[in-house]
């Protein structure tokens, strides 16, 4: 059996699109995964859905699909993505419209069930030590990190594009491996190995030389044209991680080791919905230029619990910045900070931070605070701006911003209370 080729076309919502297009056109991949949901992204998407019932999915979905679908269709590459965010069904309808517009014939499926906001109320949150219901109207969303079953089912139904919301990131990669190789759901060694492949690929360029370069020490060739990674996976679950020829970047045991431990706590117990993966005995071997053999992951039965992220409104952050340069710059910046400390005395400022950035003759003051109300948060930037006229000599280059803080709390929910479903979009959905 020839190796299964699975690539990563995005490692976060704002990731570059060109390297994904390159993978789609030249990678001859079996699957291209777009991982675009960070902890907070789905809460922002939920807010967008409240404003627009047809919104709430990834704002770059259309650009990513238009750029990669022609290449994917040519090579028979399936797409799996969590770009559905808070509204997989609307995202799938959009995908169907794009497919039709490009004159292609591809089946689109959704996987839903991750939204657990209707049954989260009694669960105690780790961070607040209170039930989720105590958040009341402040709660924005509650989503479980789902495993592979919904995506596997969608692939079994013949889907070419699978769109889900919150899923465990490695599961987006593990699902097509399980589907392709027919691994049993209790073959934990294979599930652990597939999880490792997903974990290594899920942050796109972070394994091909991105988030790595340290000039003079860890140099990365042609990083401006960095390529995204793909893996050639064999039936035993081991793999070679590599990238396309004629792309920038580097794939070495060093880049792989850094990514192996990225966002990992105990390497022997990486908790996933379908497996507890064990990375503690993993090895990397360079077997060619930009080709690293990955071996030795293992796995154990899952815990039976899914992580749930609960997003809630937690006040507002206001910020202003101003620069001082030339003679006595630092002293003027310090004076500016002291003025702000005195002027900004609203009782709903919960926490503040004023710090000086730069050198003694080129100092930028950044002053920021977390506030209960948006009005007070706006005041932070306004008081920084008013330093132009009412502050120290020669302040310049003010910037200011206000954002609502969406905080995240976590809890665990029994896996069997989260029911997933996959749906192939039918003809009737096309016009929507």
């Amino acid at each position: 059996m020839k190796p299964f080729r699975i690539g990563c076309g995005a490692g976060f919502q704002g990731d570059r699109i060109e390297p994904a297009t390159d993978l789609a056109n030249r990678g001859a991949l079996d699957v291209l995964v777009f991982e675009c949901l960070a902890e907070r992204t789905i809460a922002l998407a939920q807010k967008a859905r409240l404003d627009d019932p047809n919104g709430g999915y990834d704002p770059l979905l259309e650009r990513r699909l238009r750029a990669t679908l022609p290449g994917c269709a040519k090579h028979g590459t399936k797409i799996i993505t969590n770009m559905g965010a808070a509204n997989p069904r609307a995202a799938a309808k959009k995908a169907r419209a794009i497919v039709a517009d490009l004159g292609l014939s591809l089946k689109v499926a959704t996987v839903t069930g991750d939204d657990v906001s209707d049954r989260i109320a009694d669960f105690i949150l780790d961070e607040t030590h209170q039930p989720a219901s105590a958040l009341g109207q402040r709660m924005v969303s509650a989503n479980a990190y789902i495993g592979i079953s919904g995506v596997v089912e969608a692939l079994s139904q013949g889907a070419d594009i699978v769109i889900c919301g919150r899923a465990s990131d490695p599961a987006l990669f593990l699902a097509p491996l399980v589907h392709h190789f027919g691994w049993a759901m209790d073959d934990y060694e294979k599930l652990g190995r597939g999880t490792l492949i997903g974990h290594l690929l899920e942050c796109s360029a972070q394994i091909t030389g991105g988030y790595f370069a340290d000039p003079g020490v860890k140099d990365v060739p042609d990083i401006a044209n960095i390529g995204f990674p793909f893996a050639e996976v064999t039936a035993d679950g081991n793999a070679v991680v590599t990238k396309l020829e004629n792309t920038g970047g580097t794939v070495t045991p060093a880049t792989c080791t850094e990514q192996l431990l990225y966002e990992i706590h105990d390497p022997a117990r990486y908790l996933q919905p379908d497996v507890v993966a064990d990375f503690s005995k993993v090895t990397f071997e360079a077997i060619g230029t930009n080709r690293v053999a990955v071996r030795g992951a293992a796995g154990h039965p899952p815990t039976g619990q899914l992580k749930v992220s609960v997003a809630y409104r937690d006040g507002w952050q206001g910020e202003g910045q101003i620069s001082y340069m030339g003679i006595n710059a630092r002293a003027r910046a310090e004076l500016a900070r002291s003025i702000l400390d005195q002027r900004l005395d609203a009782p709903d400022i919960q926490e503040r931070l004023g710090h000086l950035i730069g050198s003694d003759d080129h100092t930028r003051l950044r002053y920021t605070a977390r506030c209960t109300s948006a009005a007070t948060a706006r005041l932070i930037g306004e008081e920084v701006e008013s330093l132009y006229l009412c502050g120290p000599a020669a302040g310049g280059g003010v910037s200011k911003s206000v954002r609502e803080i969406i905080a995240i709390a976590s809890t665990l929910m029994p896996s069997d209370s989260v029911l997933l479903r996959s749906d192939l979009l039918g003809v009737n959905d096309e016009a929507a």
Binding site: D214, E258, L261, H265, T283, D314, T368, I405, A407
Partner: protein, 103 residues
């Protein structure tokens, strides 16, 4: 000599917990790093309580993984810090001076 001379590393964040990998460039330096770069020293260098830092070791990769609980002032969603993810923590740790090697 600084840790940066013998090792590289990367920071990740999950909620309010940061983790920093430290990886020896050369296998022959790993035992020395293992003895010198302890959880206690890492905690002291990064101004964290010693009890908050756990070290995991992967000898076949000449790698250590330091997990720092509560190190991110509430995490990326709440922290007022400029680098709310704590992405720069690995570079700060790599500045740590190594104990002179007399062996």
């Amino acid at each position: 000599m600084k840790l940066h001379d013998l090792a590289h590393g990367r920071t990740g964040d999950k909620g309010d917990t940061s983790n920093i990998s430290i990886i020896a460039y050369r296998a022959e330096d790993f035992d020395r790093l293992l003895a010198d770069v302890t959880a206690d020293r890492v905690a002291a260098h990064l101004n964290q309580p010693a009890s908050a830092v756990t070290r995991y070791v992967l000898p076949q990769l000449c790698a250590m993984n330091f997990v720092l609980a509560g190190a991110l002032k509430g995490g990326v969603t709440r922290s007022l810090a400029l680098d709310a993810h704590g992405k720069c923590l690995s570079s700060i740790l790599l500045e740590m001076p190594l104990t002179p090697d007399h062996s």
